[in-house]
Amino acid sequence: MTLIATDVPSPSPEDDRGRQRRRRGGLAGFAVRRLLTGIGTMAFVLVFNFFLFRLLPGDPIALYTRGRNTDREQIAALRRALNKPIGEQFVNYLKNPFSSGVDSTQFSRPVWDVIGDYVWPTLVLLGTATVLSAVIGIAIGIKGGWRRGSTFDRTSTAATLTLYAMPEFWLGMVLLILFSTGVGVFPGVFPSGGTLTPGLDPWSVDGILDQAWHLCLPATTLTLAYLAEYALVMRSSLVDELGQDYLMTARAKGLMDRLVRRRHAVPNALLPTITLVFLNIGFVVSGAITVETVFSWPGLGLLSYQAIRGPDVPLLQAIFLLFSLSVVAANLVADVVVAAVDPRVRT
């Protein structure tokens, strides 16, 4: 099934010989090679980010100041910065890629300072949702894949495909209207947004419980949105293992069905899904942008939304860079971790 897993590496004929040769390099060699590729990718992202805003048509000053009141001095300062030779601009950019030489137009502060305030809530929300969705999604995938064609399998596949087709922010709005506003029989018990009821001390017992209460709906939304993919991929990789000889051997030894599944099939099938959990950081980030907006969750997603609505181009540029670099880093970590666990993938 190639529904989503188009970015899971597929073996191609020309790779086989290379794999034979390279496998002798061992894990350290693989990690170093992978690190070099990762650095290459980061360099590309940096260069791409720089030229993206300079190659595209339009007056950059108009772009930077769209929708803002700017006096003549500010425009002159911008022009001085942008009229420097492109080489000099590029060198300055490389010295500090996140500053872009222009302050955030909305916050009138260096963009990196602004971003720093918004990182923590995003980490909490995305961390919770990623762990929950991976655990639940994998459990659903195992149960459905092992009993392929059963009622549970058919119901869960239909449900996960539907969840996969859902814009996550719409799901968030539906949950909000049902469980925060309250419609008909649904009780409006959850808060409509934010992280804390005003007036509470965030570090008191009440404050922490209150924050967890605020986390419920957005974390549920993102968990439902992400688990679909994990369940589908886990199911299909388990189905791939079903016909394998080693399972026949395990059964022939007289192992209980439960043990065959848990000790033999699942560990082998787990790897693609675990890789996907890491590789999905880009997808996870995209979900955060809209869902944080819907729930007024003060993280990087909501900040991106504010930057779009400005539009606050310097801020947008820095957020784009941050997101891209974190995805590259996550991919790097995923590859090395998976290679450490499974020698087969050291290509």
Partner: protein, 304 residues
């Protein structure tokens, strides 16, 4: 030829045509066996019909805020089956008109994405030299750049219009296709008939267009329907973020308006539900058709 009354001599072309007809018949029969895929096609036919008939069913003046007849966020009743939006327009009319933009953007962006993806994929698989390596690297790089942040940046810089939304989604969603096509190209290129073509003096263009492309197309076709699904979701997301065409109604822009107008705190479920449900149904339909096509075209993935 003086052979006594043999079977009618068929020209090479006629043989090819007959084979193609047979292949098509087999394909249709195989597809019909995929019940979920057939259901997906039926749903899509209904939605495309609605989109085409929108001007007949609801005059375009129903979309104008100044000519709106209903009250603000009025719940569903006899004259407004799905209630009204914040300016008193019929939500039903908006949803039907919204189908036009959502489907158009989904299909048009996919065409762009497929064209780039197929071209880059075939070229990177065919040219083993530095060009192939460079294109492969480029694909990998674009694959890791997170889609939505990149799309947001592009849409902000280009400005909001229908064409720009199509371009933005098209140029950001090709790497997956390119990678798929590249893998398929490599496996086709390893087959003997390509060696034969090379030995007989077939140029790069001849090899790619006559031998590789026809073998890659079925895969691209299945991938296309899945990409349309993703493109429609992307359009919804971008429009929700205010990056769509401000003068056209789409399902995403309806959700944006509903959110901005406080439909959530007003409990106006009739304004929020319809556009989202339409997105889910259409995206699901494209996904089902894509999966069914995959099953038909690639028997290895066929499941019981």
């Amino acid at each position: 030829m003086s052979a006594p009354a043999a079977a009618p001599v068929l020209s090479a072309r006629a043989v090819v045509r007959a084979r193609r007809r047979a292949a098509r018949r087999r394909f249709v029969a195989d597809f019909r066996a995929q019940r979920a895929g057939v259901a997906g096609v039926a749903i899509l036919v209904v939605f495309i019909g609605l989109a085409l008939l929108a001007p007949v069913l609801f005059g375009s003046d129903q979309l104008q805020v100044t000519k709106a007849t209903g009250g603000t966020l009025q719940p569903p009743d006899g004259s407004f089956p799905l209630g009204t939006d914040e300016t008193g327009r019929s939500v039903l009319a908006l949803v039907v008109w919204g189908a036009r933009v959502s489907l158009l953007v989904g299909v048009a962006a996919t065409v762009i994405s497929m064209a780039i993806g197929t071209l880059v994929g075939i070229a990177s698989g065919h040219f083993g030299s530095w060009l192939g390596a460079l294109l492969e690297r480029l694909t990998d790089w674009f694959l890791v750049i997170p889609f939505l942040p990149l799309a947001i940046v592009l849409a902000t810089v280009l400005g909001s219009s229908l064409l720009n939304v199509i371009i933005v989604i098209g140029v950001t969603s090709w790497p997956g296709t390119a990678r798929l096509v590249r893998a398929q190209t490599l496996s086709v290129e390893a087959r003997p008939y390509l060696e034969r073509a090379r030995v007989l003096g077939g140029g790069h263009w001849h090899q790619m267009s006559r031998h590789v492309l026809p073998n890659v197309m079925p895969l691209v076709l299945a991938n296309t329907t899945l990409t349309v699904a993703i493109a429609i979701l992307s359009e919804t997301t971008l429009s929700f973020l205010g990056l769509g065409d401000p003068f056209r109604v789409s399902w995403g822009s309806m959700l944006d308006n509903a959110f901005a107008a406080g439909a959530i705190s007003a409990g106006a479920w009739w304004y929020l539900l319809p556009p989202g449900v339409c997105v889910v149904i259409v995206v699901l339909a494209f996904t089902l058709v894509g999966r069914a096509l995959e099953n038909v075209l690639d028997p290895r993935s066929r499941e019981g």
